[in-house]
């Protein structure tokens, strides 16, 4: 009797645990990316993000102040003193240290290191040091100090500043944001408008060859867009559109239409026949039926396709590269801008992690604003 609707299954706890596990599994990489976006490149390459949240013991290399400017005479000896922890590194404490790369934990804190010929160094746990020696020894560059340091968690917002404010081309992130919107909004609206009309015609208007047309649309769904890139660009150049916003809108429209028509048509076919026939009997034209009945009823399907199309055009790099970004350098999109921030050899993980979070901000807003239609729209046409 467990399966009767309304009564609780005794396996609820198993369901809850699996759901929790699945959610954790899905969130795990995202959390890692999020934590990484607050770390510097050196931190990312030296330790994992999971280690960043706890105080960790690590070996670091520091350098004393430059002796030539800071040394103080003390009898016939010279002394350089200071603290190896610069501003911002407070809260660290040293356990062992050394002055040679050969033995990085030779001394305990407070111990005096004998560096030969009377040259000495003392380092305290808080990072303050005193380096003492003759004129000759205390010169040139600062002495290296190898320290085993326990550092508290250290995060920075520098990456976000780089990506948003002070990237290579300072104003370009804002410019890229607006040009991405300029690409995305029309590229979402145009295919919806066209597809809604087409879907109505394919669903409710009787004309010869209708089934064949639907079959063609379904067939077009499987054609990869990469096939069309060069011929389409040639066409655009040939008829004078060139590379630009108009070209990229048309390209996105074309590539989005098959799915849009297919999805909307299947949804519209599922609307009750009686309403439409009643409207016809009352003398409504096809256009009136479309605008007054079909469109309001199809809102969930329209919204869910809008989400698909918006996300796809927002994240698109390929179509923008081919149809929008020309060699005059005046047009760009966010994705392309982010790729450029990665550097010529693409090694900047911290920028990658940060850029990922910056670029998903808008799609997240769109998704949460419209997600209640998504599930309804996904079921479009599946239940009659």
């Amino acid at each position: 009797m467990d399966n009767i609707a309304g009564s609780k299954s005794s396996l609820t706890w198993a369901v809850h645990i699996s759901v929790a596990l699945l959610v954790a599994l899905w969130l795990f990489p995202t959390v890692g990316l999020f934590v990484s976006s607050f770390r510097t490149a050196d931190q990312i390459s030296s330790s994992g993000w999971w280690a960043s949240m706890f105080a960790a013991e690590q070996n670091e290399v520091y350098r004393t102040a430059d002796p030539d400017g800071t040394r103080v005479a003390d009898g016939d000896m010279f002394v350089v003193s200071g603290n190896i922890f610069e501003a911002g590194l407070e809260g660290r404490s040293i356990s062992r240290w050394g002055t040679s790369s050969r033995d990085v934990s030779a001394y305990a804190v407070g111990e005096t290191a004998d560096m030969g010929d009377g040259e000495t160094m003392v380092l305290e746990a808080d990072g303050s040091y005193e380096w003492r020696g003759t004129d000759d020894q205390i010169s040139g560059r600062g002495q290296r100090i190898f320290a085993t340091v326990t550092a508290p968690p250290d995060f920075t917002t520098e990456n976000y500043e780089t990506v948003l404010l002070s990237g290579n081309n300072t104003d370009n992130m804002a410019k890229a944001f607006y040009s991405t919107l300029t690409v995305t909004i029309p590229a979402t609206i145009i295919p919806i408008v066209i597809a809604a009309f087409a879907a109505y015609a394919l669903a409710w208007m009787d004309f010869p060859g209708r089934a064949l047309l639907i079959a063609c649309v379904v067939g077009l769904l499987v054609v990869p867009l990469q096939l069309a890139l060069i011929p389409l660009l040639k066409l655009h150049l040939g008829i004078g559109i060139g590379k630009g916003y108009l070209g990229v809108w048309l390209a996105h429209t074309g590539f989005g239409l098959p799915l849009a028509i297919y999805l909307l048509r299947n949804y519209m076919v599922g609307l009750p026949r009686d309403i439409i026939e009643n409207a016809k009997v009352d003398g409504a034209t096809d256009f009136q039926i479309f605008t007054k009945i079909i469109l309001p009823l199809s809102f969930p399907a329209l919204a869910s396709f809008a989400i698909f199309q918006f996300l796809w055009t927002w994240n698109d790099l390929l179509v923008a590269r081919v149809f929008l970004i020309d060699s005059s350098g005046t047009t760009t999109v966010m994705t392309s801008q982010i790729v450029e921030l990665l550097g010529t050899r693409g090694g900047n993980w911290e920028i990658l992690a940060t850029a990922a979070f910056v670029s998903i901000a808008v799609p997240l807003v769109v998704f949460f604003a419209m997600q209640r239609y998504l599930v309804r729209g996904l079921l479009a046409g599946s239940v009659k």
Binding site: I241, G244, Y245, D326, S336, T344
Partner: protein, 426 residues
């Protein structure tokens, strides 16, 4: 009402887009692989050109330049000038008729004004669509690959000297091991291009064990890949990379370590390794705040004292070619011949030039000058062989073959497989 407003907006935007596409007066477009800081530096050079010529030169960098330029050339929307990171792609595009030959006399100029001039002319000369050879590419900005990076203070702490010959380098390697440390950091990982750092090793070692003729014949496949002399060079690389004691992380870590991360072992505490062989661009991946010349330095990857092969230098470079003919494009190439064009980038970072007429004091950074001296003092200069081989080998089976070799496969077998893939391309 709302809908009418929207429609007007779209119409306006569409018209604006059309108009913007049409207006292009005195504009010179340049596409290249440099982005980020490199892009800022090339812009500084183009600033000088803009000022001198009044041409509105615009540079756009892309990390997928190699794909982008082919798409644009095929569709007919190519920029005026393209900067190719390797000659193979340029040769391919020349043979399909997408490049315009440089002005007459350019070849003579390069021969007279570049160190090892003839080799630069040869590297920029390809067969066009008509089958005739023309000079298509002008080399500007060169990288030197035969460098070994180290941390002078670590050498000082341990009492090591910079080796002057390959024999000394091998002795130093053994000594570091005897002292209980690890001499080398080697990383071959590079995403889809994993394996390329090993091809540089093999090329460098081939130039140090065989004459330059052998190298040239190997690159053009007149000597097969599985020739014993080539296999010997691969095994030379194995001497360094396939010994667990010689490489940080052990031989098994070589193929899986990213080349961008591997130099960081030099700066670790305690040092994970003492030496790293890599091209002149690698300081970009040193930890933040590392001062080249003080915190880290380099020496010439030495040649064998006992073999009389001089001082060979392996390098690479970018070549500029005209992809969409216009008078301004030729004007730009003329500009690149002037010492000012070279000095404008020399003042900045990461630029080396074989131009003999430039003032070496213009280098903004003494280490660059030291590198350029290595370049100018080379008895033999050879271009990165894997960039000259057909793409399927130089950017394919050679890379994967070296990963297999680093993973423990037999050198002769790997070389045989690479030769098979080359035969398959013919």
């Amino acid at each position: 009402m709302n809908r009418t407003l929207k429609r007007t907006y779209f119409l306006g935007a569409a018209v604006a887009a059309l108009v913007a596409g049409g207006a292009q007066a005195q504009q010179l477009t340049i596409a290249g692989p440099w982005i980020g800081t490199d892009e800022e530096q090339v812009q500084a050079v183009l600033d000088v050109f803009r000022e001198q010529s009044g041409v509105d030169a615009r540079y756009v960098g892309s990390d997928s330049f190699e794909q982008q330029i082919v798409v644009d050339a095929e569709a007919g929307s190519a920029p005026n000038v393209a900067v190719f990171p390797q000659p193979g792609l340029a040769a391919d595009m020349a043979s399909r008729g997408f490049l315009t030959p440089l002005a007459d006399g350019t070849a003579d100029w390069v021969r007279d004004n570049y160190a090892a001039g003839q080799s630069w002319v040869d590297l920029g000369t390809y067969a066009g669509q008509d089958g005739a050879d023309h000079l298509y590419g002008f080399f500007y900005k060169v990288d030197v690959k035969s460098l070994v990076w180290y941390v002078p203070e670590n050498f000082e702490d341990a009492g090591y000297e910079v080796p002057e010959s390959m024999e000394e380098l091998k002795a130093l390697t053994d000594q570091i091991v005897a002292d209980g440390e690890t001499p080398w950091c080697i990383g071959l990982g590079s995403g889809g291009a994993t394996g390329w750092p090993a091809t540089d090793w093999v090329e460098d070692l081939l130039l140090r064990t065989q004459s330059p003729d052998v190298y040239d014949q190997w690159v053009s496949n007149e000597i097969p890949f599985d020739d014993p002399r080539i296999v010997e060079a691969i095994e030379e690389f194995g001497w360094f990379a396939r010994n667990d004691d010689y490489v940080a992380g052990g031989a098994g870590a070589v193929a899986s370590t990213d080349f961008r991360d591997s130099p960081k072992g030099l700066f670790a505490s305690p040092p994970q390794c003492y030496m790293h062989r890599q091209a002149s661009f690698i300081p970009a991946f040193f930890p933040e705040g590392t001062e080249v010349g003080v915190d880290a330095d380099f020496f010439y990857f030495p040649s064998y004292a006992e073999k009389d092969l001089g001082n060979p230098v392996l390098g690479a470079g970018t070549l500029w070619a005209i992809t969409n003919d216009s008078p301004e494009a030729h004007q730009l190439i003329e500009f690149l011949k002037t010492p000012e064009a070279h000095e404008a980038w020399m003042k900045q970072k990461g630029f080396l030039t074989p131009h003999k007429g430039v003032n070496p004091d213009a280098f903004g950074d003494p280490t660059l000058r030291k590198m350029n001296d290595i370049l100018l003092g080379a008895t033999t200069f050879r271009f990165d062989g894997s960039d000259l081989m057909p793409g399927g080998v130089g950017a394919g089976s050679f890379w994967t073959g070296m990963v297999d070799y680093a993973g423990g496969e037999d050198a002769a077998m790997v070389a045989g497989k690479i030769q098979d893939s080359w035969d398959g391309l013919k």
